[in-house]
């Protein structure tokens, strides 16, 4: 369960303080599929960053499974992300110097999980990329890269998966493929899936929608 307690974010742009996200209180239950929607600059990505502890809120706190992550140090946060959260990004963000297989294995190696190689193989199989395991990101198409990223997000079997415009950089066919994978994973593993998108069609599939406009829920 993720609880947001009056979380806000203000940055100083030039000399003027600029509030990207106004205080927001909400709870996301385990296994829920939440879509965060809104136009560009409405604060979607900021909210996602705060949920994952990638960024610190200006005020308020984020509590994941009873742990106040805003009180954690950088290293503890890293550990928490490694164990509980899987990420999928719009621009894939695979490590270019590693093969697909290695990219998937990295989170498990960091956590010291047993037998990461075998599990990486089965995850790649799950996203249908067994034959591309030893290719480098630059040798893969956008859709394939995103599937590797998805496999990587699932590496440590996290209870929460965060996806930032996962189809934003893909054509319709590949976008649909990724969405189908995400949904089937969400259903099969009962993961909490939080999706940032401005695609209304995708948002319609979610259990719940949080619509943002200029940093406020509408």
């Amino acid at each position: 369960m993720i609880e947001l307690r009056a979380v806000s974010k203000t940055v100083t742009s030039g000399t003027e303080p600029l509030t990207i996200l106004h205080p927001l209180t909400t709870t996301i239950a385990r296994g829920q599929f939440v879509a965060i929607v809104g136009p560009s600059g409405s604060g979607k990505s900021t909210l996602l960053g705060l949920l994952a502890g990638l960024d610190a809120p200006t005020s308020g706190s984020v509590v994941i499974d009873g742990i106040d992550i805003t009180a954690l140090g950088e290293d503890a946060l890293a550990k928490l992300r490694g164990e509980k959260i899987g990420f999928v990004f719009q621009f894939f963000h695979l490590i270019p110097s590693l093969t697909a297989h290695e990219n998937v294995a990295v989170p498990m190696e960091i956590m010291g999980a047993p037998n990461p190689a075998a599990r990486a193989r089965s995850l790649l199989q799950e996203v249908g990329l067994t034959d591309r395991a030893h290719h480098y990101p630059s040798q893969l198409s956008g859709g394939e890269q995103q599937r590797v990223a998805l496999a990587r997000a699932l590496a440590n079997d996290p209870p929460i998966v965060l996806a930032d415009e996962p189809t934003g950089n893909l054509d319709t066919k590949n976008g649909r493929h990724i969405m189908d994978l995400l949904r089937s994973i969400h259903l099969a593993r009962n993961t909490t899936l939080i999706l940032v998108t401005h695609d209304q069609e995708l948002a319609a599939m979610a259990d719940r929608r949080i619509s943002l406009l200029d940093g406020r829920v509408v």
């Binding site: 996602l48 960053g49 990638l54 960024d55 990420f87 963000h93 990295v106 989170p107 960091i110 440590n156």
Partner: protein, 845 residues
Amino acid sequence: MFIIRMAARETRASWRRLLFFFICIAVGVAAIVAMRSVIQTVRQVFGTEARSLIAADVLISTNRDWTPEARSTIERRLQEFGATEQTETVETPTMVRPADDTREVARMSELRAVDKAFPLYGTLTLQGGQTYAHAMLRDRGVLVRPELLTALGVAVGDQITIGKAAFTIRGVITDEPGRRIGDFSLGPRVLIDTADLPATGLLTFGSRARHVLSVRVPDPQIDPLVQTLRSDFKEEFVNARSYRSSDDEVGRDFDRAENYLSMVGLIIVILGGIAVSSVTRVFVLQKMHSIAVLKCTGATSGQIMAIYMLQVMVLGLAGSILGVGLARLAIASIPYFVDTTSTSLLSDIHYGITLSAAAQGIGIGVLVSLLFSVVPLLRVRAVKPSLLLRDESAAPAGIDWTRIAALLLVTAGLVAVTAWQAASLKVGLIVCAGFGVLAIVLMLAGRLLVRAVSPLASTPSFPLRHAVLHLSRPGNQTRVILLAVGLGAFFIVGVRGLQSSLLQEFSTEMTADAPDMFLMDVQRGQVDGVRAFLSEPSRGAGAFRLIPVLRARITGVAGRDTQLETFEDVRARGSLAREYTVTYRDRLEANETISAGRLWQGSATDPEVSIEESIHDRFAINLGDTVRFDILGRKIEARVTSIRRVDWKDSRNGGFMFVFRPGVLDNAPQMFISPLKGPDGPDARARFQHDLVAQFPNVSVIDFHEILATIQDVMSKVTLAISVVGGLVLFSGALILIGAVAMTKFQRVYEAAVFKTLGANTRTIARMLLFEYGVLGLLAGTVGSLGAVALTWGVSRYALDIPWRLFWMEHVGGIVATAVLVAAIGVLSSLDVLRNKPLLTLRAE
């Protein structure tokens, strides 16, 4: 485990990009290992042969005749300490000519007269497998160095005249015990029997003969004997030393040489380190996304830094090992450069890499790589994982104490490494401080330049405008390139400047009318004869003067700032204790001016002396002080009444440290010297020397033409050696330059693609690059050249003691060459930027 695995994968992916870093380290390490190995090897040979190098356990020597008292003291002590064997030799420079008077040549040589017991240690080796025996010298036999045969055009079996006597050449010396490599010599060695020495008539009064007593004593008695003799002769001009002290001396020279040379290697490694630092910085910048991803998937900053640190260490180690390999190759090639037909010790040595040199090289390579990568790697901590959601550059918050602490630690580490290499904390600090100052100067210069050229940013020329903007763009390589290339230019231009300065120093002395020959040891009774000889027009000699000279030692000083009671006190002042050649006259030479006091007029019975400015500066001897001289046994206390400045550039007419007022020394035993303009042409000069020596056998002639040739030969070798080192530095600089260009290429490729899309053609972009690197090279060259000006000034003034000259051509040439080199490398290593099709690049982004 994760760290090792990641480091291995990363190295696999990025070793090509880090190749430059790797080569820079390798070159520096190779320099250190090669230099240390060679010196250690040579030193070992010296160490094992120290006894045969001075050919005795103890050497007792004097530049004057033995006094009977001194001899009896020595004899008594030798018995006391159980000396088992001794041999006496007399060495003096003298002229040698063929006995056949139709051969009109004469050559300055170093005569050594030996007795039956010579040599105590080592063997005298002769050409053609002959074995040396003293009998070969008996009855006017002589052994000579091969150079003399060529110089005089004689062969074994011919007769040569030494002084007043004729000798038969019985063999050719290839190696002689008791002679050190690099000893300065006035001419080739000539060996005769002591018994024949009187016949030559060379041991007249005032000759420059050195008497040496070589002694063999039981080992434990060596040091006590030397100590006792030293205290016996505290107040006399007799020296005693053991082979050990000579070993120590040689050892100290070697230590100094080894440490000095390895400093040069270290400078190259540090340059490599600067490259490491810049490469690491750009590397981290390029890896920002990967670092963020790793952080997102749970890795801590510490783990990520460990990954890159491990990578740096592996590459540093590999580079160092490659460096040792390079050193091995360099050393293996030495025999091709050392003239193996020469008989010097250097050619007999089996060169190889010593273990300690290799270990030091590798240690330094790894250490420097680590030290220089720590600070840039700290940036890993600042990479925020939220970067993946939004491309933002986080503003650094406040003072980063960790970074400052790391900087301090790294500085301390560098000082430690330098001090270790120089074997002196002081030198380590000085070198590091020097480096720091140079780096700061280069950086300030860089900033100034960027500011100076910034008005160009509004020039209508598109390529020039953008070139200038590039110099100050974020993440620019201006500083690193300035530092690396500026240092290279500094070394090379500095060395070339010094070399020209030295060559000019000698050639100014060779102007048309200046004296180019020098007569020595003219006896008082010969003055009229020599004058008549030189005035005879058929001899072809030009202007000449005969100057009386006496040899004097300072045995005490009573002055305001300096109080030296005994000769021992004077000895403690280093070169003040050496033997000075003094003269007397009552006028200044053309190259002299009085800087304090007044020069006397006429003669007086009260001793007065005029000292040269450097004596005043170095030993704090002032006007009004009294200096006590020992002039061939006579004690003279002279008051300092003037201080002279001598223009040493024009010193042929007299560069005397001490000039006395006439009156006191006029009737003292004295010799005459004569600077003169010799005849033109080598044949005429040879005939002139021959005829002079035939008439006055004890007179020595120094022909500056011959000396100049020798000096030029030595200079060209020294210059080559320094140029090689400077070249290595420049090579590292070029590598760093290429590396820096390659590292920032990703930025450039993208920009070029955008420019092309916007309508810029390849030529415009090429011009842009050319301007950018040209300006950068110009600056690096300027800074290096300015540094070189300072270097030549300092070295000329303090180390070489020659007037400082500025060589515009060298400095301007250096600036231009650097600019061209940097521009060429910059454009060439960006060629693919020019060739890339823009669409491809933009798509990839």
